[in-house]
């Protein structure tokens, strides 16, 4: 079995050895065991944390079944988002159209759950069978006096990343429809999904600085917050892949500036506070930020030092959805003494990969849209001890006798923020040092 598809040569880069520009954002080769998902998946994961909205999936049952409460996006209030609603299209609907079923389902749902808005997702076949999703949404919207937003997400129309854009377009239809008054020193947090309660940590930091957080999009999200999101003075955007598009729309349409941040690792987390303080040109905010950073560092460094001493020399392979996260992970791993030897993502851009190249040591393998055989080969080649990835990578890593840390949907402890760095170090330590690996080595 050969390890690499020849067509993929330019999607793999060996730092210090290769010269070519990374080729990315291209569809997977047909027949490859790709780790990627589809447009629908991308839109669904981005929108679903909005907890007081309905999320109705128009299609055969699978698309609803597989996205039912899979991400652990926590809500401090309503939890309608954790239920699974589907039109469960059957053969007769494929032949005669599914519009009436969609209409009925929407009405039944709205009457029952009294949501603040409804997102209606199209799937692969909706366009093919000729259902006019938009018309149905308009009709129900009018009849029920509620925003019913079509999310045009047929799976085949691209990759997960294209789904992020679709989600942002849907959100953009809500933004600007509210008129809440917000203070001058206010931000929106974009691109955190409150997995394992991470958002709540961030809210605490910003609150301690004295900053008003207007809307969180979409973690622990609420429809009314999104409606008034344009009232904030700044969009703080995490994870460049999923929410940049909304930030750009909001800048164009409402003049809300944005900045990119990452909350993973101490350096990036602290920068996220400093940059916001700088933006508001406020000495008071800056000194608060410094105070928080000092306080947190004082608390964390001794603990991290202990982990670092034990983990020094360990090597990690990183394969995640967004490349921005990969960048933070490289830095966070370095902080605890772990060298990144393989780094890849499903949806990185050429610029992201350039950043990664500059950040990594010579010999690091950088890869776009990888697959299990490649990843196994890279791990072997580099002698990695730990793998950081998502659900499909976990069992492969274990089979190879590697430690594993889920930095995706299935993380159960907050990994963002200062608290998250401790959790991250603890998780990496626990898995890298687990006694179980000695039995197969």
């Amino acid at each position: 079995m050969s390890s690499f598809l020849i067509e993929r040569k330019r999607q793999i880069f060996r730092s210090g050895a290769d010269q070519h520009e990374m080729l990315c954002s291209r569809p997977s080769v047909a027949g490859s065991v790709s780790q990627r998902a589809c447009v629908f998946c991308g839109s669904r994961v981005v929108l679903y944390p909005i907890a007081d909205a309905l999320h109705l999936i128009h299609g055969p049952i699978g698309c609803a079944a597989y996205t039912w409460d899979i991400r652990g996006a926590l809500s401090s209030g309503p939890e309608i988002h954790r239920l699974s609603f589907s039109t469960d299209l059957r053969e007769k609907d494929i032949v005669f159209g599914g519009e009436s079923k969609l209409y009925l389902s929407l009405v039944e749902l709205i009457v029952r759950y009294q949501p603040k808005a409804a997102f209606v997702y199209s799937t692969c076949i909706v366009g093919v069978i000729g259902d006019d999703l938009e018309a149905v949404c308009k009709r129900v919207s009018k009849e029920k006096g509620l925003s019913v937003i079509p999310v045009q997400a047929p799976g085949f129309q691209g990759t997960k990343k294209d789904g992020y854009k679709v989600a942002c377009e849907a959100l953009a239809t809500l933004v600007g429809t509210g008129d809440r008054e917000v203070p001058e020193i206010s931000i929106n947090i974009l691109g955190d999904f409150n997995i394992a309660g991470e958002l709540w940590l961030l809210l605490d930091y910003y609150k301690r600085m004295g900053i008003y957080v207007n809307a969180t999009i979409t973690g622990d999200g609420r429809v009314d917050d999104v409606r008034s999101a344009h009232k904030a003075s700044l969009n703080v955007v995490q994870c460049s892949g999923s929410m940049m598009y909304l930030a750009k729309i909001m800048k164009e349409e409402y003049g809300v500036p944005f900045m990119k941040v990452s909350y993973f690792g101490l350096e990036d987390m602290s920068d996220a506070l400093y940059e916001v303080a700088k933006f508001f040109k406020s000495a008071a905010l800056m000194s608060k930020a410094k105070e928080i950073v000092r306080e947190e560092f004082g608390r964390l460094m001794p603990v991290l030092k202990e982990y670092r001493e034990k983990l020094e020399g360990k090597k990690a392979a990183v394969y995640v959805g967004g490349s921005f996260k990969a960048i933070s992970l490289i830095k966070a791993l370095r902080l605890i003494g772990v060298q990144t030897v393989v780094v890849g993502s499903q949806t990185g851009t050429t610029e992201d990969y350039e950043l990664i190249q500059n950040l990594c040591d010579e010999g690091t393998i950088i890869v776009d849209d990888s697959n299990p055989i490649e990843l196994s080969a890279f791990v072997k080649e580099t002698g990695a001890d730990i793998f950081i990835g998502g659900v499909k990578e976990r069992p492969i890593a274990y089979k190879l006798g590697l430690g594993f840390c889920d930095h995706n949907h299935e993380r159960k402890e907050a990994l963002a923020g200062y608290e998250g760095m401790i959790n991250f170090a603890k998780e990496i330590y626990a898995t890298a040092m687990s006694p179980v690996w000695q039995f197969t080595r």
Binding site: M1, S2, F4, L5, P27, A30, G31, S32, V33, S34, Q35, A37, C38, V39, C41, G59, P60, I61, G62, C63, A64, Y66, T67, W68, R82, L83, S84, F85, S86, T87, D88, L89, R90, E91, I94, S100, K101, L102, L104, E108, T123, C124, I125, V128, G155, F156, Q157, G158, P372, I373, S376, K392, R394, P395, I396, Y398, K399, L400, G401, T440
Partner: protein, 460 residues
Amino acid sequence: MLLRHTSDTIIEREALTVNPAKTCQPIGAMYAALGIHGCLPHSHGSQGCCSYHRSALTRHYKEPVMAATSSFTEGSSVFGGQANLLQAVETIFTVYNPDVIAVHTTCLSETIGDDVNQILQKARDENYVPAGKYVIHCNTPSYVGSHVTGYANMVTSMVKYFSAKSATKKDQVNLICGWVEPSDMREIKRIAATMGAKIVLFPDTSDVLDTPMTGKHEFYPKGGVTIPELISTGDSKYTIGLGSFCSEEAATLLENKCKVKFSIQDLPIGLKATDRFLVALSRAAGVKVPDSITEERGRLIDMIADMHKYLYGKRVALWGDPDTLVPLTEFLLTMDMKPVYIVSGTPGKKFEESMKSLLTEKVPEAKYKNGERADMFLLHQWIKQEPVDLLIGNTYGKYIARDENIPFIRMGFPILDRVGHSYFPAVGYTGAMRLLTSILNAILDKEDRECREEKVELTM
């Protein structure tokens, strides 16, 4: 209170499904295909489908699950997926080198009208398929049936592509296995071996989705029914299908194609269904049931007898797949429990007929429903009307279990939050003992935790 919106009033629904008790066809086809040795399942559709199915199977088995995808694009949805599928076949044999590619379709490739049969013929004619290698397929439109249907369709296509009748009969019995765990398939093989019955079990996911950790990732683990075994099924003297939803179509085709007679049995879950399976197998294979198995039966009955007072009259709600639910319901009745609510998203008249004959007399108040809108929401509403003492089903029951504080045993697909199901069987007498143990533990643990302090009993 995750499900606080659920009330005891049954909401009339014409169109909406809330919290489904099923998923779509392709994942069943993928799971069945993994039960062929050296097989790479292939999803002919958008890459999201493949990704979802692999993730769901991975979460359930905690094992790597390999499958390829045609990675449909906008172009394929307009011009058809032929180019993608041909390229996929070439790529897969070049890079992943399986013995068999098992293609299943998706709602998209079905709706745009791809003729997979014809495309694969073209692939063979134009030498995309190396000598000695196979590409098989089945149609799995996601809007027909459920995941169970997809499993049945892939099993049927194993017969369609491989079963062949030669001049000489073989002294062996085909066991077409319904959708159960690798542990169950392993147990069925153990029972047959103990009886001295020669069998071909297919599909067989043991040693594929329950592999030991060795420090190496085997892309094609050692388990799975082999191609020569599948071919030889046409020469077998008899076929037993286990679970009508999953095996009847394949068994029927095998009879039509190769004249191998068959009978359909329930999956051997519980005392009576295991009895029937053993009788059927001993007749078909011409072997006796050895004492060691009769003694397993005796131990099961002994266990029921010892604890029957804790079982009597306990109300149970269950959900999942028909082939499992039917013998499970029967087993609960055997133990004098009361299966009162039963739900399956999988459509099919047989379910209702079987439940009717099992329940009408013994539990006249029982409610059961399958097919459209037979979902977890409906089940929860029934439970709100009159509570139950026990829940048995897949992980999606945990919300109800928590909200209503009902003991809950995980069984079925998917189980996303516990382990053991892929290692310890539920079939056969020993499987029944394990089920009974779980049932008692769940009920008695709750009793111990919640009864009045003065009522805490040391011995039970």
